[in-house]
Amino acid sequence: MGQQVVNGLFLGSIYALFALGYTLVFGVLDILNLAHQAVFMMCAYAALVLVVNLHLPMPIAFLVAVLAGGVIGMVVERVAFKPLRGRSDSNTVGLISSIALATILEAGVVAVFGPDMERFPIGTVPNRTLAIGGAVISELQIVIIGVAAAMLLGLTWLLRRTRLGRRIRAVAESPKAARVLGVDVDRIIAASFFLSSALGAAAGVLFGLAFNNVAPDMGRSVELKGLAVIVLGGMGSMPGAALAGLALGLLEVFTVAWIGSSYRDAIAFGILFLVLVLRPRGLLGSAALREA
């Protein structure tokens, strides 16, 4: 039981990181960025290259990959979203252009690394374990949960307490009003994409380490799980996404333990579906759905 909770929290913290980035962009732009999973995947590869080919220690590789993720995110915004701003159907069209960009990025990765999965070399991460109560926790799991928690707190602090955070929240509330008040909306949107993709990148590196598996299609299943998480948490709600990420992680682990692994994903999407039908604003979503 304790063991399941630990495993669930560990998985859930990765989902939470991924979904936070997703929901940050949705909160600001009202657009789903389906290239988020491509950034997630590319940065896992970036960390892999830094560790294997440049022999950097893992923590430094992690930081570099996260920064690279942020920069890729700004490129994604510039190419796939900025040119569409102001078009009446920008919600649907932005969704599709981000799919296009994700396809292009994935093609690039397949061209360079091939379609097969790769592993981090043995000894990249500590593999000692600790026993707490009845549960066995690996050092890696503790590090991952710790890093995820630190990033969650950092993001909360940034959004609540800094000038940038206030401006991001202002743009999320109303771009028009923010512009009137002198906020450079384009720059704030770019900054949101940087933050969002940096979080996605962190999730990607941690996911790659956790399952020791880096592959061009690793983002696909996480992408759909991420959707379930942000809907469950309430679209655009940061604490909601964090909470729902942990909840989904726990739920998946307990589904595997009690019902069997084959229905694990059905639970996630079944919940997604029910939440949308019964309570579309999610657990912590603030406003009711806007009228068209």
Binding site: L32, I99, A292
Partner: protein, 298 residues
């Protein structure tokens, strides 16, 4: 001459078949999208049609035409109870809900016994001929063409342009949306049944999220402003890999990543620079020429 033609047909027969199938699938996305609703459950409807027809083939001796009718009706029957709650959702929420539904359906097919789990049903007898695919495609186009000029067609267009305004005008928006969702589901179901009996198999991995993204890409690249746009897109993007394969053999490079890249790049370019899709290209060229002929006419 005749032999050369015959050989050409044999090498490209499956491409031709898939152009038709993908065209039908693209129309299924378009049909729902024509009232401004982006449903990504089409792969699930396709799976329902495919499994239903294959199981009928295995367990009952019924004519193929009857199986196709079942493959058209069953997904529509599923679409109605799905649509009742889901179509109340707006924009991206509706899309996400349909993604969730699609995944749940696929996972159930993976786990059920009579669908043979993740392996799917194999050795499905080939009962589809290429002409049947095109007959179905023509039928779908005919239905959409007839709808376009009718009272229902104008109602649907009004809903797409402005849903609340259409409701204020007394259009029963929910009925139309539900009907179009069911119609799109039928198209997908028929395509699924035809594909299953063309490729000899029904595998759950065929009906994943990426399949539905493909359908959407066909529709958008072709253009969703006119009813034949999706077919144009499906034709272009299904034939393109064949061209790419020939070209990459010429340069001795791996076709896989190139194909992915070109698909993504075409989609991005169309979205950014040709928002009405490829189908709008002739009109645009004509307008551009006219503008060149009389430069200061305005």
């Amino acid at each position: 001459m005749l032999e050369a033609l015959q050989e050409l047909w044999l090498t490209h027969q499956s491409t031709v078949a898939f152009i038709g199938l993908n065209g039908l699938l693209a129309l299924s996305v378009y049909t729902t999208l024509s009232c401004g609703q982006l449903s990504l459950a089409q792969a699930a409807f396709m799976a329902i049609g495919a499994y239903a027809s294959a199981i009928l083939t295995f367990h009952a001796r019924v004519p193929f035409a009857l199986e196709l009718v079942v493959a058209a009706v069953l997904p529509a029957l599923v679409a109605v109870p799905l649509g009742l709650p889901v179509l109340r959702l707006k924009g991206v929420f509706l899309t996400i809900a349909t993604i969730g539904f699609g995944e749940v359906v696929r996972i159930f097919f993976v786990n059920l016994d009579f669908t043979n789990g993740a392996l799917g049903l194999t050795a499905v007898p080939q009962r589809t001929s290429v002409w049947m695919i095109y007959a179905a495609l023509a039928g779908a186009l005919y239905v959409l063409w007839r709808i376009r000029g009718s009272r229902a067609g104008y109602a649907i267009e009004a809903i797409r342009e402005d849903d609340p305004a259409a409701r204020t005008m007394g259009i029963h928006t929910a009925h139309y949306k539900l009907a179009m969702l069911a119609l799109g589901a039928s198209f997908a179901g028929v395509a699924g049944a035809l594909e299953a009996h063309y490729t000899f198999m029904v595998a759950p991995s065929t009906y994943s999220f990426s399949r539905v993204v493909d359908m959407l890409v066909y529709a958008v690249v072709g253009g969703t402003g006119v009813f034949y746009g999706p077919v144009v897109g499906a034709t272009f993007l299904t034939a393109l890999p064949e061209v790419i394969r020939e070209v990459s053999q010429l340069f001795r490079i791996q076709p896989g990543p190139v194909r992915l890249f070109v698909n993504g790049a075409v989609l991005l370019l169309v979205i950014l620079y040709l928002p009405e899709g490829l189908a709008s290209l002739p009109g645009r060229v004509r307008a551009w020429r006219r503008a060149r002929r009389e430069p200061r006419a305005a």
